[in-house]
């Protein structure tokens, strides 16, 4: 019987089976994604205040960087890091726009952008919650 188990493991390794060797569910990673999802949803309410939004975007960018850094530190976590990198890119684009001291971003852009970030973060969170428990 041990032979069968060995054969199964060898087969899994030979085919580069990412499915078998994936990072388990990580509650810290889930917490960081949740923060991005909840904060971006809350921040949407302040889009008419440019100065406040500028401050909020900087804070959200820090959260996204923490999430990206943490996800990349987990082994066998390629698909999640792919999603997290995309989310980080969305926040970084917004951060670049709001770096400007002058009020250049529209309220509609601000609301739609926060909504996209929040929706994406929730979607990622829902998916990674299905990963096997350690």
């Amino acid at each position: 019987m041990n032979k069968l188990i060995v054969v199964l493991f060898v087969l899994a390794n030979l085919t580069g089976c990412a499915a078998l060797f994936m990072a388990p569910y990580d509650s810290n990673e889930n917490l960081l994604i949740n923060k991005v999802a909840v904060k971006s949803e809350e921040m949407k309410e302040f889009c008419s205040d440019y100065t406040q939004t500028r401050h909020n975007v900087t804070s959200l960018f820090t959260q996204a960087k923490q999430l990206k850094n943490f996800s990349h530190s987990l082994p066998n976590n390629e698909l999640t890091t792919k999603m997290v990198d995309s989310l980080h890119q969305m926040v970084e684009d917004m951060h670049t726009r709001y770096k400007n001291e002058k009020d250049t971003a529209s309220k509609t852009y601000c609301e739609l952008k926060f909504q996209s970030i929040s929706d994406s973060a929730k979607y990622i969170q829902k998916t990674i919650a299905k990963r096997p428990r350690p």
């Binding site: 019987m1 069968l4 188990i5 199964l8 899994a12 089976c17 990412a18 499915a19 078998l20 994936m22 698909l79 999640t80 792919k82 999603m83 995309s86 989310l87 890119q89 969305m90 684009d93 726009r97 971003a105 529209s106 509609t108 852009y109 739609l112 952008k113 996209s116 929706d119 994406s120 979607y123 990622i124 998916t127 990674i128 299905k130 990963r131 096997p132």
Partner: protein
């Protein structure tokens, strides 16, 4: 996001741009976000598939070990 939902969102963005609700560069960035969201969806689907396959493999290994 389904292709239909994607098309509806893209159309909404274009309508908003046409009615001057945001600038050209903002419009471009928001359209690009739709593509980014689609890539997130694809990676999420791949991860879900992997989770399913993993559960099958682990199940077979457990049965084999129990015999």
């Amino acid at each position: 996001m389904t292709p239909q939902e994607l098309a509806i969102k893209a159309q909404e963005l274009q309508n908003m741009y046409n009615t001057g609700q945001f600038s050209e560069s903002e419009f471009k960035e928001l359209v690009n976000d739709l593509i980014v969201q689609e890539s997130i969806n694809n990676a999420a689907m791949e991860l879900e598939e992997n989770i399913t396959y993993r559960n099958i493999i682990v199940g077979v290994i457990n049965v084999a070990s129990a015999i």
